[in-house]
């Protein structure tokens, strides 16, 4: 069993759940611990219920885990909802002036803080939060200094008085806990590592910056808005132009316009916005102008559940825009991969002159994870493909923008280059760009142009790595997942192996091209296969079957808006191996 420590903070939106979360994450990461955070929140600015889970450990923590060690309820509602989740060895720290504990399980330490006695609550509205952080760190055997430093950084913009006030409140909580509460059985470990705390949306944006994006535009849409926020905040330093546009139709068209004039252009949205963009993707493919579009999935259909996660947009992505055209689709596997996948995608879309779609989800985009700062290397390989940016050395005579080639790729001249004038048309066109759609339709030319574009698919197939089987070969059960579920599947597999059920897993990152033959080759050797995905209909299972005829032995699906926890998968595997069902839909025990 992986050693980890999990703290969960809950309250109404506006009560300040985020700040303690950031402070815990920072202190844990600086102690050389891995951190993974998941925020279960709602589409409300004030009120409702927000529940932030921060898990840390010496070994990599890839998901929120199964157990809460410390609960900090900021209101009665949180206490009532979640106290029952705590088991022996866990603790709850709460404001005893306003919150009453219910019946806790045996071995749960109840830690009441007399907030009004410890701090001046007329001056400090979030005193209970700061006191609770101080108390927690005392119980975890962490010295006060890291907290003092974190608070200083957090509040320095508000002036020295605010810093001093918060530090003194935190110290009061720390001392009170030292005198009144029992420390946790195991003090928080420490290593000599130093980690960065990275969020998924940030990572996608930083990946864009590393890739050389010079134009980013968006319409705000949860849970992708964090990409826009990072871009807007860092635009000047990074040398990126950022625009907020009237709607997602405008967004994708503006990005394609910018890309057409020669820059790397990117945009991000969620499912609803992506639906509006789809006609634009067809344009990108037809005029052969590369663009990268990120869809951060949320629970659908329609407005759906804006603050909840799902992997329900795969078929929208596969079918976006009418007609056949080459496209690339990849799903980042974890938060660091959000950073890595963007430059990789840009190199491919520049090379193949087509749209590239990145399929993230709320679990990654709003989650946070520690990464080795060395892995955030901005010095990535950049390949702009066959791009003509000046007339030097290029014979201007007879330039054909859509020249028919063996690879299907035609050298792309950008506007402004003398001698390469052409019109890029969304209508079907000949090699020189002249329309063959209206007056001079021609089945021979139409077929040739269609085949030219679609020939790029062969090159794409060769450019992408097939997935690799992880864990012991020849295992009793093989779990297949795509994108963000990799971390939780990895841990479920570890638990299964510890419990004597040999298991391995196949994480899928590239959806188009799928590498279907390689996948089937691996799965043929597997004894029992289960596809794990965060949607109702088994979108990946249906896609895999349509591409390869492969049908797995079972399915584990979840579509309640919340991500999988390791035990959901472990228990589902057990019931399937026992022959009880071929489709498991785990119930989410945490009411958020």
């Amino acid at each position: 069993m992986k050693q980890s420590f999990t703290v969960s903070i809950g309250g109404a939106a506006g009560q300040g759940v985020a700040t303690p979360g950031d402070i815990f994450a920072k202190i844990f990461a600086r102690r050389g611990l891995h951190v993974n955070t998941y925020n279960a929140y709602q589409s409300i600015i004030r009120g409702g219920h927000t529940f932030l889970t921060i898990r840390s450990g010496v070994e990599e923590v890839t998901n929120m885990g199964d157990r809460i060690d410390l609960l900090i309820p900021l209101n009665q509602d949180t206490m009532d909802r979640h106290l029952g989740l705590l088991g022996p060895g866990a603790a709850v720290i709460y404001n005893s002036d306003s919150i009453k504990p219910g019946a806790a399980a045996g071995g749960v330490q109840i830690c009441p803080l007399p907030v009004a006695k410890l701090a001046d609550i007329t001056r400090n509205k979030v005193a209970q939060n700061t006191l609770a952080i101080g108390a927690s760190l005392s119980m975890l055997g962490v010295g006060f200094q890291p907290l003092e430093q974190a608070l200083t950084e957090q509040f320095k913009k508000k002036g020295e008085a605010v810093v001093a006030e918060n530090v003194s409140v935190a110290r009061a909580g720390y001392q009170y806990a030292t005198e009144n509460f029992k420390p946790f059985a195991n003090p928080l470990p420490m290593t000599d590592k130093g980690y960065a705390v990275l969020g998924g949306n940030m990572a996608l944006a930083m990946g864009g910056a590393a890739a050389g994006v010079k134009f980013y535009c968006a319409y705000p849409m949860s849970p992708s808005t964090g990409v826009l926020h990072w871009m807007a905040t860092h635009a000047r330093k990074a040398g990126i132009m950022v625009r907020q546009v009237e709607d997602e139709i405008g967004v994708v068209n503006m990005a394609i316009g910018a890309a057409h004039a020669g820059v790397r252009a990117m945009c991000a949205t969620s499912g609803g916005g992506f639906a509006l963009m789809s006609e634009g993707l067809g344009m990108s493919a037809m005029i052969e102008t590369p663009v990268v579009v990120i869809d951060v999935q949320r629970a659908g259909p329609s407005t759906g559940v804006p603050t909840k996660t799902e992997q329900g947009d795969l078929w929208q992505m596969l079918g976006a825009a009418f007609g056949d055209y080459p496209r690339l689709i990849a799903a980042p596997e974890d938060i660091l991969d959000c950073f890595r996948i963007i430059p990789e995608m840009f190199n491919l879309v520049d090379r193949f002159q087509c749209p590239g779609l990145v399929l993230g989800d709320l679990l990654l985009s709003e989650g946070r994870s520690t990464v080795d700062p060395k892995d955030l290397d901005f010095n990535v390989p950049i390949d702009r493909g066959e791009l003509i940016t000046s007339a030097d050395g290029n014979g201007a005579d007879g330039y054909k923008r859509y020249k028919i080639t063996e690879s299907g790729i035609s050298p792309r001249a950008i506007p402004g280059v003398p001698g390469h004038i052409h019109t890029a048309a969304t209508d079907e066109h000949d090699e020189d760009g002249v329309l063959i759609s209206d007056e001079f339709t021609n089945p021979i030319k139409r077929r040739a142009m269609m085949e030219k574009r679609m020939r790029k698919v062969e090159g794409m197939e060769a450019a992408v790595q097939p997935p690799r089987l992880m864990g012991p070969p020849g295992a009793e059960v093989t779990l297949i997942g795509w994108g963000s579920t990799k971390g939780v599947i990895q841990e479920a597999v570890e638990i299964l192996n510890e419990q004597g059920i040999s298991a391995n897993y196949l994480p899928i990152r590239w959806l188009v091209p799928l590498k279907g033959e390689a996948i089937v080759e691996i799965l043929k050797k597997s004894r029992y296969t289960i596809i794990v995905e965060n949607n109702y209909s088994g979108q990946f299972a249906r896609y895999l079957r349509s591409e390869t005829s492969y049908v797995p032995n079972g399915h584990i699906r979840k579509y309640d808006g919340e991500p999988f926890m390791p035990h959901h998968i472990v228990e589902a595997v057990k019931e399937q191996l026992a022959g009880k069902t071929k489709l498991s839909v785990p119930a989410h025990e945490i009411m958020v």
Binding site: A29, R30, G194, Y195, A196, V197, M202, A209, A210, G212, K214, F215, C217, H234, R236, K237, A238, G239, M241, V245, E246, D247, I249, N253, M254, A255, G257, A258, A259, H260, A261, G262, V263, A265, G280, M283, I287, P373, L376, F378, I382, T389, S390, I414, P415, G416, V417, P418, H420, I421, H422, T423, A424, A425, T426, D432, G433, V434, L435, D438
Partner: protein
């Protein structure tokens, strides 16, 4: 990126001739628009490779194929969004957007309004024939009340949009209307629009000889009155422009309704372009120091 080698060359009408001839119906108003735009580019001596002509979909949106500049024939209604992207990527290019009334005021209405308020430095020419032509004659957003079309055979019951008033309200900094049969006058408007540093809206009556039997050359001829013929008209007066924009009937004003030059265009207001280096000519990589700072923020 290597510097583009400029070849100074006298631009002639022949240089601007497209690869193919227009497929518009004989007598279509769009021929006059094309000729005037070519003349304006010759008179201003703008090198064709530094011009991007961008359109949406419709009869008039075939325009980029008929003029020898860089061209983009984009999606129905989306030309202004694409053009904004092009201009932001390389603001040294001259950007022209050409299209029809359905493309611009119907399906593209949202982008029309927002591109104006952003004051993107481009010339937008709407060949306004008050009908959908390419789809063989349906009511358009500028079709007059009562006009009978295939989609409203008993007469249009929806009030038309007033493009001039809409442009004024949305904050366009250059608002003009031309008539394609008034070649000289219209060419001057195109030149003024190209020279204006900001969003130039140029609505042009471009009669559809096939599907619009109401708003014909014969109908327009006695009605159009040039604002330039009125010495008292002040095109810097927004209220006067709004008042003139309401005229429709026996007298229909054409000419420059409004122009203001005191507002920066979008690229002029964009801090990232303060050094005037187009985005497309910049170093792709984030400066090493910035990259270090981005990571340090996370520690």
């Amino acid at each position: 990126m290597a510097t583009v080698v400029e070849i100074p060359k006298q631009v002639t009408m022949a240089d601007l001739k497209g690869k193919v001839d227009p497929d518009w119906c004989p007598g279509c108003g769009d021929f006059g628009v094309l000729a005037a735009v070519q003349k304006a580019l010759v008179e201003l001596q703008i090198q064709p490779h530094n011009v991007v002509t961008i359109s949406g979909i419709g009869c008039s949106s075939n325009f980029p194929g008929y003029i020898n500049t860089y061209g983009m024939h984009t999606l129905h209604g989306r030309a202004l969004a694409v053009a904004t992207g092009v201009k932001m990527s390389n603001h040294h290019l001259t950007v022209m957007v050409t299209g029809g009334d359905g493309d611009g005021f119907g399906i593209g209405g949202n982008h029309f309004v927002h591109t104006m308020r952003r004051n993107v430095d481009l010339l937008y020419i709407v060949m306004d024939n008050q009908i959908y032509g390419l789809t063989t004659g349906q009511t358009s957003p500028t079709s007059r009340l009562g006009m009978k079309t295939k989609s409203m055979p008993f007469g249009n019951i929806e009030a038309p949009v007033n493009p001039i008033a809409l442009a004024l309200a949305a904050g366009a900094t250059f608002v003009a209307r031309g008539y394609s049969a008034e070649q000289k006058h219209f060419t001057e408007l195109v030149k003024a629009g190209l020279e204006h540093k900001g969003f130039s809206f140029l609505d042009v009556f471009s009669p559809c000889v096939t599907y619009n039997h109401d708003n014909t050359y014969q109908w327009f001829k006695p009605r159009v009155k040039k604002l330039e013929d009125d010495p008292g008209y002040d095109a810097s007066d927004w209220y006067a422009a709004m008042e003139k924009a309401q005229l429709w009937g026996d007298e229909i004003p054409i000419g420059r309704f409004f122009q203001r030059t005191d507002l920066p265009s979008l690229h002029g207001a964009e801090p990232i372009l303060a050094d005037d280096v187009p985005m497309v000519e910049r170093e792709l990589r984030v400066p090493a120091q910035a990259a270090r700072e981005f990571v340090e923020e996370l520690m």
